[in-house]
Each structure stands twice: as structure tokens, then as C-alpha cells.
């Protein structure tokens, strides 16, 4: 859980150093991250779907964004606040069902679906957080796992009439965006190359929005307080801060992000599987977030890309892909706590040093 502070240096002498210093200052600004996210959503699909190396496809790109949103929220809880929940599938699946049911029984406008999903997840998170956060560390992990499994079995059994039980919920009815823009509508010309279709704009839009919100939260007092709690909870208490409330807020925020993601997933898949509440899903988000690199905004994105790529594309070649991912996961926990993104930034630092280093 390392903080990514890099001080803005502006030495007068070397050109490179000066340039890098200005680059650093630029990077510190919030708008940079948001701009980066926009550039990403424009550039990534081009690379991913067109380069034969990747063999990607648009639907997978949208799925990556959805999981990224889930993971960014999860990272606020794990990477920043240091709380490991093994039951986050509750918010993902629960909100997915809420969105699906809402679309089937009321109105399937996508933004409304996401709203319903987010509210559902937030309320669930508030309740479960109130119950689970009384205890720390191990108990928290087990309690969240227990609540997750409880919901799973509830959806499978007693509530099967509503949820569709083992078969999942198939009644999802997605309407045009804002009532008028069909999700399949494609753009023409250059807009088409950059933004593809309305569906893509929806997912990419929420992705950028999530990044913006996450960056803002991290740069608010909460960012510092969360990290402090992760490092030395006791001390934070004795500085007069109500640790329990901050933890609860972290939990609810991460639930809200999961809610957005769950709602979007229902729109994407037009279906809600009961497995979305299963512990495997909770485990998946843990792996994605840790693999990508906790304690950063783009780490979870990297993790989503890696995981979903392996799960959907590599799995065609290698059936034991999860074994590979599992091994990578253990290596990261053991040796490379900063994850994939940590390795990337590590390379970046080395490159910087080379550029700046006159005496190496």
C-alpha cells in the first residue's frame, strides 16, 4: 500500500530535469488523470481490437471498463483503507439483480438502471458495513464472506422465484438511453472511429466518470485519512478522528462503485447470473485488484485488463488459465506488492533516472 507521492522538482540546470519537473507538476493535477482516462478510452480499443497480438473485441473492452469500475472501488477499500472484504460479490450481484428487476418491472432506461443499482448497493453496503466493521482483520473478511454466501444461497433458494434461481435472471429489458438513443446506434465517420456506438459511449463515459470521482476522493481529506487508517489505526483514533465512521464510508463508497459496475454489467450482458453473488466472484475482484496493483487508480484497471484478457482470450488456448493467474497472484502478494501497475511505474522511474542521470 504505497503512496504515490512524487514531488515536483524544477531544478534550474538540466533541460531534461526541467522538462520532467514540469511534467510532474502537470501530472499532479486532477485534470491530468481525467484527460488520461479520456485518451485511454479512445486509444485502448483501437490497440486492443486491431492489433493481432491482442485479438480483442469491443464487447470485451466494455466488460473491462465495467470490471475496472468495480475494481477501482474495491481498491479504495483495500488499497487505501487496508480492509479486505471477501464478500464484495454481494454488491456486484445484488445491484445487478436490482437493475435487471427494475428494467423488467418498471423501465429499463440505462441511466436509471445504473442509479437503481448504485442505490441498492450503497444501502446493502451500509447495512453489511454496520454489521461487519465492528471487528477488524480476519473477522471482517470472514463476516463479509459469510454475508456474501448468505445472499448467494438466498438468491438460489428462497428468493429463486424472483431471481430465477440457478438459471439466473433473463427478464432484463434495456431501453434506449435517455429514452431516445438506442444503444446499438453507431456513429459515422471520425466519431465512429473514436466512439463507436452509443453503448460504448455509455460504458466509456462511466469509466471516465469513475476515474474522476476516485481521483477526487483520493485527493480529498479522505485519501490521507484512509491511508493513515491502513498504516496505524490506533494513532488515527488518538488524533481525534472517528475511525469507524471513516471505515464505514470507505465500505459504502466501494459498494457504490460496485453498484455502478453491477448495473452496467446487467446492461452489457442482458442477463444476471446467480454466480455473480458467489464467493468466486468475490475472489475474482480480490485477484484483479491485487494483481493490478493496490493503492493506485490505474492499478485496478491494469488488473482488469490482465484478468479479463486471460479469462476470455487466453483461456481458449490454455484451460488452466486460472492456475496461471493464481500463481501470478501469489507472486504479487509475496514479492511484488505494487502489482502490475507497480512494475509499470517502476520501469518508468528507471527510465527517468536514466534520463536524469549524468553520472551513471
Amino acid at each position: 500500500m504505497s503512496e504515490q507521492t512524487e514531488t515536483a522538482t524544477s531544478p534550474e540546470n538540466t533541460d531534461t530535469a526541467g522538462l520532467l519537473g514540469r511534467w510532474d507538476e502537470l501530472r499532479e493535477r486532477e485534470s491530468f488523470s481525467i484527460l488520461g482516462a479520456i485518451v485511454f478510452v479512445i486509444g485502448f480499443p483501437m490497440v486492443f481490437t486491431n492489433l493481432p497480438l491482442f485479438n480483442g473485441y469491443m464487447s470485451l473492452v466494455e466488460l473491462i471498463y465495467v470490471w475496472s469500475i468495480f475494481a477501482i472501488g474495491f481498491d479504495l477499500l483495500l488499497g487505501y483503507t487496508g480492509l479486505l472484504s471477501f464478500g464484495h460479490a454481494v454488491f456486484w450481484g445484488g445491484s445487478a439483480y436490482a437493475a435487471g428487476l427494475f428494467s423488467a418491472n418498471f423501465y429499463g432506461e440505462p441511466l436509471l438502471m445504473v442509479l437503481v443499482a448504485t442505490v441498492t448497493a450503497s444501502v446493502l453496503a451500509l447495512v453489511i458495513g454496520l454489521l461487519s466493521l465492528r471487528r477488524g482483520g480476519i473477522y471482517f473478511a470472514i463476516l463479509t464472506l459469510a454475508f456474501g454466501q448468505m445472499m448467494y444461497f438466498l438468491a438460489l433458494g428462497p428468493l429463486g422465484g424472483i431471481t430465477g434461481g440457478e438459471d439466473g435472471f433473463t427478464g432484463v429489458a434495456v431501453e434506449p438511453l435517455l429514452g431516445a438513443l438506442s444503444l446499438e446506434r453507431e456513429f459515422a465517420g471520425i466519431l465512429g472511429t473514436l466512439l463507436h456506438d452509443i453503448s460504448y459511449v455509455l460504458f466509456a463515459g462511466f469509466f471516465v466518470l469513475t476515474v474522476a470521482v476516485a481521483v477526487r476522493i483520493v485527493r480529498s481529506p479522505y485519501g490521507a485519512i484512509f491511508q493513515a487508517i491502513a498504516e496505524n489505526e490506533q494513532r488515527v483514533r488518538f488524533l481525534g478522528l472517528n475511525v469507524w465512521r471513516y471505515k464505514l464510508t470507505a465500505f459504502v463508497l466501494s459498494g457504490a462503485f460496485a453498484g455502478v459496475a453491477g448495473g452496467l454489467h446487467t446492461i452489457h450482458a442482458q442477463y444476471v447470473a446467480v454466480g455473480s453473488l458467489y464467493w468466486i466472484t468475490s475472489g475474482d475482484i480480490v485477484i484483479i485488484t491485487v494483481l493490478g496493483g493496490i493503492g493506485s487508480i490505474f492499478g485496478p484497471v491494469a488488473g482488469s485488463i490482465a484478468f479479463l484478457y486471460v479469462e476470455n482470450i487466453i483461456s481458449g488456448e490454455i484451460a488452466f488459465w486460472l492456475l496461471v493467474l493464481g500463481s501470478l497472484f501469489v507472486s504479487v502478494v509475496w514479492l511484488f506488492p505494487a502489482g502490475i501497475w507497480g512494475i509499470v511505474t517502476g520501469i518508468r522511474s528507471t527510465v527517468r533516472e536514466r534520463l536524469l542521470g549524468d553520472d551513471s
Binding site: 503512496e3 477526487r216 481529506p221 490521507a224 493513515a228 496505524n232 490506533q234 488518538f238 481525534g240 478522528l241
Partner: protein, 251 residues
């Protein structure tokens, strides 16, 4: 009366760790709590600062009952504690350490401001800067706290404890494991805090020299109960205290 405890008791099953301790502390009157190991000194402080709930008895701060309140509530009222080990935030920069402390001081125990820029809170930055400058740590503000030399870590820890301008400060064995030079510096620091900032100090210590230099009053605990309470001279001559310290050690 700044702090008052009445019949403060804590039992862990059959073990009575703190047994009906009565303490009274006036503002500006610094006290040391001494006693052999296991006498219940730390436990008593933990009871006062809200880390533990007493089995019986009350704690009052400025006439208001604070028994069993949460630590953060008690701190917000003007108490603070400096820990035995340098309890800081190792992976954050020195400045961020101070910022967190300042947040607690400026914004109360909780605020739903996760959408406001931290950089926009001038009063927080100002207080953080002041806190660091007071301890001579402002130069190192961009270093990660874990990279500080041990002595600086302790000063940072003290700085954090003082960031909120407390009226009452608990110091739990601040000179444990220190060299004579470091001990002198710490004592000077404590004196400075007393005089310049008007903080009332409650000290748990074993080093008698420090105790006599810093304290206006001394409370002696043994086996959870208070066996003596008075000025340093009174305590020095008290035979019961001498006996408690394993057969009349010369103090």
C-alpha cells in the same frame, strides 16, 4: 479541576488491574504516575483515554464525565496521548503525517467532505506547517516518515500528539530506550511544552530523575491501587513507596 478520576477500577476476569484509583489534577499541575511493573499505570491511562472501558468508577474532564467514551471523542475535548513507540504513519511523508493530525484538529471527528480538495483547506496546511516547524521537522517534510532517524520519529510522534493544541497530554514512558543525551533533549522538550504551550502533562515513567524534574505531583500505584499521592518531596520520604519498589531502593 482539569482531570478527576473516582474509584476507577478495571477487572479482567479475576485479575484486578486497576483498583479504585482516585486522581485529581489541576490545570498546569503536571503529574507523574509511577509504580513497579504491572502496577496498572498504563491500564489506568488507557481507561482515562477511552481505550478500555472501566468496570467501575468515573473519569471527569473539566467537570464533564467522559467515562467510557471513545478515544476520538476524548481527544476532541482536549486530551492527547503520545505513545511509547514512535507511533507515526511510516509510509506517508512527514508532511502528510502532520496533515492527518491537523485534519483531526480542524475538522472534528468526522466530516463527509470526500469531494472537497484537501489542498483547498488552508487552515489544515497552516496547522500542519506550524506543527512541524515547532518540532524542527519542517525541512524533512517530503521524506517518508519511516526514513527518519529514530530520534526524529519520536519528535514527529510528539508533534502529532500536540497538533491539536491539547490541554492535557499523556506521555507513556517517553524516554524508554533512550541514551542520556536523548533523554535530556526529551526532558527539555517536555519542559518547553509545559511552559510555552501551557499543556498539563501526565507522565508514566521509571526514570526518577526525569520525574522529579518535570512533575509537580506524583501518584504511586502498586498492584492496581494508589498507595501514595503528593509532591515529589512527600513521595521521596514515603516509606510505603520505598517498600513497594522492592525493598527500599534509594530515591
Amino acid at each position: 479541576m482539569l482531570l478527576k478520576t473516582s474509584g476507577l477500577t478495571k477487572q479482567f476476569g479475576e485479575l484486578t488491574a486497576v483498583d479504585g484509583v482516585d486522581l485529581e489534577l489541576k490545570e498546569g499541575e503536571s503529574m507523574s504516575i509511577i509504580g513497579p511493573n504491572g502496577a496498572g499505570k498504563s491500564t489506568t491511562v488507557n481507561l482515562i483515554t477511552g481505550l478500555l472501558n472501566p468496570t467501575d468508577g468515573t473519569v471527569e474532564y473539566r467537570g464533564e464525565e467522559i467515562t467510557g467514551k471513545e478515544p476520538h471523542e476524548i481527544v476532541q475535548k482536549g486530551l492527547s496521548k503520545s505513545f511509547q513507540t514512535a507511533s507515526i504513519f511510516p509510509d506517508l511523508t512527514v508532511e502528510r503525517n502532520a496533515v492527518v493530525a491537523s485534519l483531526g484538529a480542524e475538522h472534528g471527528s468526522f466530516s463527509l467532505n470526500f469531494f472537497k480538495r484537501l489542498a483547498g483547506y488552508d487552515e489544515v496546511a497552516g496547522r500542519a506547517r506550524q506543527t512541524l516547524e515547532d518540532m524542527g521537522l519542517y525541512e524533512q517534510r517530503d521524506i517518508k516518515a519511516k526514513s527518519l532517524p529514530y530520534g526524529d520519529k519520536r519528535r514527529l510522534e510528539m508533534a502529532l500528539a500536540l497538533a491539536g493544541d491539547p490541554d492535557l497530554l499523556f506521555l507513556d514512558e517517553p524516554t524508554a530506550g533512550m541514551s542520556p543525551d536523548e533523554t535530556d533533549d526529551t526532558v527539555d522538550l517536555i519542559q518547553r511544552i509545559k511552559e510555552e504551550r501551557g499543556v498539563t502533562i501526565v507522565l508514566i515513567e521509571h526514570d526518577m530523575e526525569i520525574i522529579f524534574r518535570v512533575s509537580d505531583r506524583i501518584a504511586v500505584l502498586n498492584r492496581g491501587a494508589k498507595i501514595a499521592d503528593g509532591t515529589p518531596d512527600e513521595i521521596r520520604g514515603d516509606p510505603g513507596v520505598q517498600e513497594a519498589y522492592l525493598g527500599g531502593v534509594e530515591i
